[in-house]
């Protein structure tokens, strides 16, 4: 076909359509119409041919009819007057002996979406509801929903609603499901179709007759039904149980969703339902369709929030395939991070290490940060891999490693030695601003241990003029200040230059203000500066240390089987455990080893508004460091600090509902225990974060005390916590 502009094309087509010779030869006629529709679907505006197409509608050729209807439905709203002409043909077709023609006419009549036609449509629709052929009834039922949408204001006749309700007993399952759908839309204001006991049981009994799509629809609507007795509930559950194992993921997901809503008061039942779907979900993860795999992966992530151990044995299923798209690989890595345990950590890390050199830089960086997350519990192995990666001298890898290491060191300060050694030489490879900020931060905080730190900073300061990122500049200011505090001789000169540049020449207001701030701070004297810059630092990751406590299913059940889990970005899951912003500033940075201790599941996931957070510090013999806390410091003079094994202490604390977060190893000083507890009043909930600090002299260091001493201590602790929480509440 020669190339024609759209106007020429329309003219050409119009000529062909109105040519009597073409009209008499039905094959040629059909072909011309085909061309019109083709042009339409390619985006050419062929609305000008409307009147010609209306004429073409009156034909016995079903294929031609269908084509014309495709056209008419697309353009009817532009030509309401001309569309009136079609109605006659359509109404005539509704009387046709062939049910296919009847359903076609009825469907397209309602698809024209013209409010002016409503009066002509109602009568055939009413007739359609009682048609002999199921296919006509299907169309008619949905037709009422379309009609309702066209004139939402006018109420649909109650008789029609009743008729739709009675059609729920239609022998054709699709008619039944369509009735549900139509009623759901028509009765939207009243909260959708009413599901009483007879209807619910009727739907459940006919579930088997429906196809996959119908089943999903019915299951979804049944979520609204509340069984009246426990027996009924369990009858329904056992009836639905086989569907949990359906080979069709949509049915499985819809059933699970219904299970979760029915069992919202029975956590044990919902957990066992989650166990049941493990097989089908894993099968969906291996589906041939990668979109389906992705969906299954995202939903497994949801399930793991409540049952962290659900997939433990199947971690290998989440190893990435060679040719899988990046979005699947990244989800799988997030899952692998959650499935790590003592047995599989070596294999998982080995696998993740392989992804770090992936060609796709996003995947590589995701792999590196995944290793970093695992490093919070298995720091040595992970650091070895991460520092090994620095040797590759690849820009994006090094940058990701430096950022990961920064985050890791924040949580596991014991890693700092190894990190400091690895940092040398990175500055040449890291190019992007995020990576350089991370590097500068590390140099600032650990400057005294990285011998080349001043020289690296000097290079940065010399290149300041060509620096574009304000983030890097601010980080450079802070890092230089910090380094100045520990290595003044080497840094003084460059700090002067840096401050001078930033105050005099810098155009970015934030950078300039920060430089001014540091400048004035220096005027206040070195001690003041030190207090500000090297004071206690926040440790936002304490929440992470505890691992994720199992959430109750209700937290996420609503978003199950919706698009929500598929959209959640990686960053979001990363930050969920970050904790609340203001309380953490008062938690001291632990300088000592923190060994992880497992925790019992307790519902502490960002309590609702009105959280009072306070910090309780219990010093055993001496007062701890001098500093003003936003929160509370409490000194409990306990004759003998409990220096027992973490396990027994933890168990004991749990008796009084105090959860431990982390311990220092038993023999170290200062010895710390981080703990939290959670109280709920009627109108307000309180989360208490506490640190037990014992900085006693060597002579007080004693082996575990007897139970009574411990109990005494705990009762004190409990009363203190109790009074505290009641005060606060």
């Amino acid at each position: 076909m020669p190339y024609l502009g759209s106007e020429d094309m329309v003219r050409e087509l119009r000529r062909a359509l109105s040519n009597p010779n073409v009209q008499s030869d039905h094959l040629r006629y059909r072909n011309t119409i085909l061309k019109v529709v083709r042009a339409m679907s390619q985006g050419v505006d062929v609305s000008g041919l409307f009147s010609e197409m209306v004429k073409a509608c009156a034909t016995v050729d079903v294929v031609q009819k269908k084509l014309v209807y495709v056209f008419l439905c697309s353009y009817a709203s532009l030509n309401p007057e001309l569309s009136l002409l079609v109605i006659n043909t359509l109404r005539k077709d509704c009387q046709d002996p062939n049910p296919m023609v009847r359903s076609l006419a009825l469907r397209n009549m309602t698809n024209l979406r013209l409010p002016s036609l409503v009066e002509y449509v109602e009568q055939p629709l009413t007739a359609g509801l009682r048609d002999r052929a199921a296919c006509v009834r299907r169309v008619a039922v949905l037709g009422w929903a379309k009609l309702h949408k066209l004139q939402a204001s006018s109420d649909i006749d109650a008789a029609v609603v009743n008729e739709l309700y009675s059609l729920l007993r239609d022998p054709d399952p699709v008619v039944m499901v369509n009735c549900l759908r139509a009623l759901e839309e028509i009765l939207k204001e009243e909260g959708g179709v009413a599901i009483n006991k007879p209807i619910a049981h009727h739907l459940l009994n006919r579930l088997k007759e429906c196809d996959v799509w119908g089943q999903c629809e019915v299951l979804k609507i049944l979520e609204r039904y509340r069984p009246q007795s426990e027996d009924e509930l369990f009858d329904i559950l056992s009836l639905l149980d086989p569907s949990l194992l359906s080979p069709h993921p949509p049915v499985m997901a819809a059933t699970l969703s219904l299970f979760l809503s029915l069992c919202s008061g029975l956590p044990a039942a919902s957990l066992s339902a989650l166990e049941r779907v493990r097989g089908p979900l894993l099968a969906a993860c291996g589906s041939a369709s990668r979109e389906m795999r992705f969906t299954a992966l995202c939903h497994i992530q949801l399930l793991l929030r409540s049952l962290p151990g659900l997939m433990g044995a199947h971690y290998k299923r989440f190893f990435c395939g060679y040719a899988e798209p990046a979005y699947i690989k990244q989800r799988k890595m997030q899952l692998l991070v959650e499935l790590v345990n003592d047995e599989n950590v070596a294999l998982v890390l080995d696998e993740l290490k392989g992804y770090c050199t992936d060609v796709n830089t996003d995947t590589a960086q995701a792999a590196i940060s995944a290793i970093g997350r695992i490093g919070r519990s298995y720091s040595d192995r992970c650091l070895e891999i991460l520092t090994g990666l620095l040797g590759l001298k690849q820009e994006h890898i090094t940058s990701a490693v430096v950022q990961t290491v920064r985050d890791l060191v924040w949580v596991c300060p014991q890693c700092s030695e190894a990190v400091c050694l690895a940092l040398e030489g990175c500055e040449e490879t890291v190019q992007d601003s995020q990576g350089r900020q991370a590097l500068l931060w590390l140099l600032g905080v650990y400057g005294e241990r990285v011998s080349s730190a001043p020289y690296v900073l000097e290079v940065f300061i010399d290149g300041l003029r060509s620096e574009v990122s304000p983030g890097v500049k601010m980080e450079l200011l802070t890092a230089t200040m910090r380094l100045f505090l520990c290595r003044p001789a080497e840094t003084q000169d460059m700090l002067g230059r840096l401050l001078h540049y930033c105050i005099e020449e810098e155009t970015d207001m934030c950078v300039r203000d920060q430089a001014l701030f540091y400048y004035r701070l220096l005027h206040c004297g070195i001690e003041e500066t030190r207090k500000v810059l090297q004071g206690r630092r926040s440790d936002p990751s304490l929440g992470v240390l505890i691992g994720r406590p199992a959430e109750p299913v209700n937290q996420w059940a609503r978003s199950f089987n919706t698009l929500e889990p598929l959209k959640q970005s990686a960053a979001e899951t990363e930050s969920t455990s970050g904790g609340s912003p203001e309380p953490v500033t008062s938690v001291p940075r632990p300088n000592t080893d923190l060994s992880l201790s497992s925790l019992s599941p307790s519902p502490v996931d960002k309590p609702p508004n009105g959280v009072a957070l306070c910090f309780l510090l219990l010093g055993a013999l001496e007062k701890a460091e001098e500093e003003d806390y936003v929160c509370m410091e409490e000194h409990v003079h306990c004759p003998a600090p409990p220096r027992c094994s973490p396990q027994s202490l933890q168990a004991a604390l749990q008796l009084v509902n105090v959860q431990t977060l982390a311990f220092t190893p038993p023999q170290t000083l200062p010895w710390r225990v981080y703990l939290y507890t959670h109280t709920r009043n009627t109108h307000r909930s309180t989360l208490i974060l506490g640190e037990l600090l014992y900085t006693g002299e060597e002579r007080v260091k004693k082996q575990p005390r007897d139970d009574t001493a411990l109990k005494g201590f705990l009762s004190i602790l409990a009363t203190v916590l109790h009074t505290l929480s009641s005060e606060r509440a």
Binding site: R107, M292, L563, E564
Partner: protein, 438 residues
């Protein structure tokens, strides 16, 4: 509930657009394509949103099949539906490609009209649909190299045509009305996808098989068919049957329509296939392959005196002899190379954008060994860059082989069909992901 469905070519041409509910404007198509092109790489996320519009798409045969929907609709349903729609289009048009969609757009509109009404899925069963679909398919040339260029990464469907006894399996199902009407054929395919990771020390770290039995039926009306599997086929770990080498799978699920009354005793599936393609049975096996993985690699990575990276790969195929394989093999590394391959019909090239050497082996007889030597110029080669070499990913297709050992003993149509009916059983194993670390 689906608001719109549209099909775009990989270049963004509008092939099909249908609006079911009139809620979102037709500019959604443009919005979607803009979103796709704005992303780096060729892998847009499955769900994208633009205001209240949520796009869910699947990608098959180089086409984007997109549905716009509300936020609370089930992703499982939408994605399964889109996959099913693509399968239907393939059934009706013969193959799934930009060309066949272009040629058969009228048919596809008709199909969409029957399958979805007002955004609600009505039916996707080809038995029901065949009564409604009137337009005849225009089939493109049965098989051409052009179609192969659209082979998807997991091209189980498209690559299948290469091993088909003829191009018969890629014709439209509705041709019965046409001149080819007399030819009633049924294909039963056992398709397995292998997912293997082999460590650098040669130890199999992971081996999964996902398998399915697919029936593609061209008979206008098919009576009951009985598919006999190996007698010693067993499911799960505990249960072992027969005296021969067990054929074992971990989990197994069947299509709704399959009747299993004879499955427990004789391992016979009874099914009345409807026209078109359907998966009768799916099964998985993890970590316990009955035989050794089909390929082993013996790599050597060295630095030669000139500072080049020497990559010597020796690949062995452990299949029984006389089985040949189509193979493609890729390694991640750097820039210019010279190569020595052990046979002239192989080829190798370096793909700079993906930093991979691709070594193509058209045929690889079982029990033999091939080798290749690549010399790569790597700027700034250090000992650390050696770590970056690898892994080796193999993509291949093993005709007439199943990794689990599942076989079809017999295929019977119980009331014998009048006229000549042909029954085909085909086995093929694809590499879903076959990774060997170096």
């Amino acid at each position: 509930m689906i608001s719109q469905i549209f099909i775009l070519s990989s270049k963004g041409d509008h092939l099909i657009y249908k609006d079911f509910r009139g809620e979102a404007g037709s500019d959604a198509v443009t919005v979607f394509y803009e979103k796709v092109t704005a992303l780096p790489g060729d892998q847009p996320p499955v769900v994208m949103s633009h205001g209240d519009l949520h796009f869910v798409h699947v990608r098959q045969g180089g086409l984007y099949c997109v549905a716009t929907t509300a936020a609370d609709s089930s992703p499982f349903t939408v994605i399964e539906f889109l996959n099913r729609l693509m399968a239907l289009i393939k059934d009706y048009c013969g193959s799934l490609s930009e060309k066949s969609v272009r040629m058969n757009f009228a048919l596809i509109y008709e199909l969409l009209d029957e399958v979805v009404d007002y955004g609600y899925i009505q039916t996707t069963s080809s038995d029901v649909l065949k009564n409604f679909i009137q337009t005849e398919a225009v089939s493109s040339k049965p098989f051409s190299l052009f179609d192969l260029s659209n082979v998807g990464l997991f091209g189980a469907e498209t690559q299948q045509s290469k091993v088909a006894p003829s191009s018969a399996a890629t014709r439209p199902i509705l041709s019965s009305r046409g001149e080819q009407g007399g030819k009633s054929e049924i294909f039963v395919d056992v398709i397995e996808r292998l997912c293997v990771v082999i460590g650098s020390n040669g130890v199999v770290m992971k081996a999964d098989v996902e398998g399915e039995i697919r029936v593609k039926c061209y008979m206008p009306s098919c009576s009951e068919m009985r598919i006999g599997l190996n007698e010693e086929f067993s499911i799960g770990k505990s249960q072992l049957r027969g005296y021969g080498a067990a054929v074992r799978v971990d989990e197994c699920s069947f299509h709704q329509a399959v009747r299993l009354d004879e499955f427990d005793s004789h391992r016979i599936l009874r099914v009345c296939p409807s026209q078109g393609e359907q998966t009768v049975m799916q099964y998985q096996l993890s970590d316990d392959l009955p035989s050794a993985p089909p390929f082993r690699l013996f790599p050597t990575v060295e630095r030669d005196v000139g500072g080049r990276l020497l990559l010597y790969l020796k690949l062995r195929c452990d299949l029984p002899p006389k089985r040949s394989v189509l193979l493609q093999d890729a390694t991640t590394t750097h820039t210019p190379l010279c190569q020595e391959l052990s046979s002239p019909d192989q080829s190798a090239e370096l793909q700079p954008h993906s930093r991979a050497v691709v070594w193509q082996i058209p045929r690889f007889p079982g029990g033999t060994q091939l080798s290749a030597l690549f010399k790569l110029e790597v700027p700034g080669l250090s000992s650390a860059s050696m770590l970056e070499v690898g892994p080796v990913g193999l993509s291949f297709e093993l005709p007439k082989v199943t990794a689990t050992g599942l076989q079809i003993r017999f295929l019977r149509l119980s009331p014998v069909q009048p006229g000549a009916s042909q029954r085909w059983v085909r086995y093929v194993t694809h590499s879903d992901s076959y990774t060997i670390r170096i």
